[in-house]
Symmetry: C2
Subunit: 339 residues, 2 copies
């Protein structure tokens, strides 16, 4: 194993070695030959905060309508996504972009497709106040929570204050989301030494995935999420979507169509694909990625091998009881779904 000092999180990795970033150092020692590392089980520090975050994640009272929760678009029954092209927001507004999975999102270098939020906490407040999504305000959401005695008691217990704040809310949601990792996929078991668990086709797909260069962007524990890359390197991507990618954050024209590389973990569950959700199947996604990013025209056989490999990345889905939410009190502001 080679040691590289001062390595940057965004460094591109091309080839077969293993050390990608300082944060991956330990897993790199264990799996020095592979550019993808197994997912570790989450080890939450504050279980009470995780439980509160779970309730908030499922609570539609954080939206103006009282009908949209985090789970509406990041549905934990469906790979942490909504499985539709672009999401539905308040009053059925059509969202501008495909909802990224919340699963393993703690491993991303930043949040949202354009990385405009630095972490899960910064992300969590976004949709609540976005007029096209939950269409609420942070103040109104906090007013709702503070009107519910059971929530106040939980905030008091966990944060030492019986007045909730948006800071506490996003802390708790982020703490819950950090537990939403999917370990023990078949590929991870193979990485850890169970060499019989992958079929010959799947292994051939993984070999192709590495040798063709897919791995130059899709690497690390999340098989993606570790860098921003331009969509359409070799050929340009045609889309009706107006999303500009990193340009919207940096203002630089060169950042147009530069997006966070999506994770390929649980990719079988997180269709449709690409930031515009225009790609319905894994076969089409692999084909397009080959042509647009690598200049490779995968044969049907190669394509199906890579798809077979990708399906080994489906891990154990989060397993927890549906949270029961505390009732509103007479003082709770009522939702306003229709005006």
């Amino acid at each position: 194993m080679m040691f590289v000092g001062n390595i940057n999180r965004n460094i591109l990795y091309i080839g077969n070695a293993a050390l990608l970033s300082f944060g991956l150092l330990f897993s790199s020692i264990l799996f020095a030959e592979e550019p993808i590392q197994p997912i570790k089980e989450p080890t939450p520090e504050n279980l009470e905060m995780v439980e509160l975050g779970k309730m908030l994640f499922f609570d539609p009272r954080l939206s103006k309508s009282g009908w949209i929760s985090c789970n509406s678009c990041h549905n934990l029954s469906m790979g942490g996504t909504d499985n539709i092209r672009t999401s539905i927001g308040h009053k059925w507004q059509q969202g501008p972009i495909n909802a990224p999975t919340v699963l393993n999102s703690s491993m991303n270098l930043a949040q949202f497709w354009d990385g405009r939020a630095k972490d899960l906490k910064a992300q969590a407040g976004g949709p609540i106040a976005n007029p096209g999504e939950m269409a609420f305000t942070h103040k109104l959401a906090i007013d709702v929570l503070n009107s519910i005695p059971q929530y106040r008691n939980l905030f008091k217990k966990i944060f030492g204050s019986n007045q909730a704040s948006i800071d506490m809310v996003t802390d708790a949601i982020a703490a819950f989301e950090e537990t939403l990792v999917t370990p023990n996929s078949r590929f991870d078991k193979w990485l850890k030494g169970d060499k019989k668990i992958m079929s010959q086709t799947e292994l051939a797909g993984y070999k192709l995935f590495k040798e063709s260069g897919c791995v130059s962007c899709h690497y690390g524990s999340a098989v993606g999420g570790a860098s921003f890359q331009k969509l359409g390197v070799v050929a340009s991507y045609k889309t009706e979507s107006k999303a500009e990618g990193r340009k919207g954050v940096t203002g630089r024209e060169t950042d147009r169509f530069v997006f966070k590389v999506p994770t390929l973990r649980n990719i079988e569950l997180t269709y449709p694909y690409f930031h515009d959700g225009a790609v319905a199947t894994l076969e089409e996604a692999v084909d397009k990625m080959g042509r647009l990013q690598l200049g490779i025209d995968f044969s049907t056989e190669e394509n199906s091998k890579i798809v077979a490999f990708l399906k080994t990345l489906t891990g154990e889905q989060p397993s927890f009881k549906l949270p029961i939410l505390p009732p509103s009190s007479n003082k709770t502001p009522r939702p306003v779904p229709f005006n």
Copy 2:
């Protein structure tokens, strides 16, 4: 205990005795002095069917948009309701009526506010094909399910056919819904002999509830759901809702504003109240019911006693793991949320 032959399910019961209907005979023997019986724990016969029904209950692919599931409006995190006045349907259509709780709905004499479905199975198919709700068709919903290998395997295992039908789907959803009962409320514990569990205020509320005549409609295990009654007996109910009640089913003008008596189980969780959802608080609901149905103007103190009693009807909420849904296949028809 008095025995009454040929007793009719809809018979009105006024007073303190116990025998209300033939179906309540056994519980009447056990709790001969009380017009309300404890909820029994569910004893599902076919656990695999219940599990399948749970998946279907949470699966938004039974809707045209791919975004609305049974749980969207009968949210099991929120008392089996959506806690908004009238429900939101496909493309954010405003529904005509308040979503009744699915909790303990197996105890109802019929389903929907107007009782137009004779049982849970007959109800379950309604919203899927209702253009104002899930806006799908039974055929399209079945096409979706039959395109998903894991669902086909489950239908094969449970029903002996690897082709799902709407009959199987509604059987499974109903089997799941039959498990959604909420036993062991504080009131039920009191009924079963734990005489210290109710406060003096709550007991005074129960006494008032019986003596004022509330119990003439809200009786039985579900504290309601056992008869159709006219809303506005003493004074007429003013509403903007166009719902006609039983008239829509029977065509009889005398059935206008005759609705199924809603269950009072978990009433603390199932706000807002009445078929039009126009009543926000329990206090207001008790006040209106007193005036409209009984000609009684409850004092503030009486009102608060009855409300205290009603809050003892909150039982153990359904406790189960969030179901993980099988992914669509390449052959699965994609949802059409926006056109």
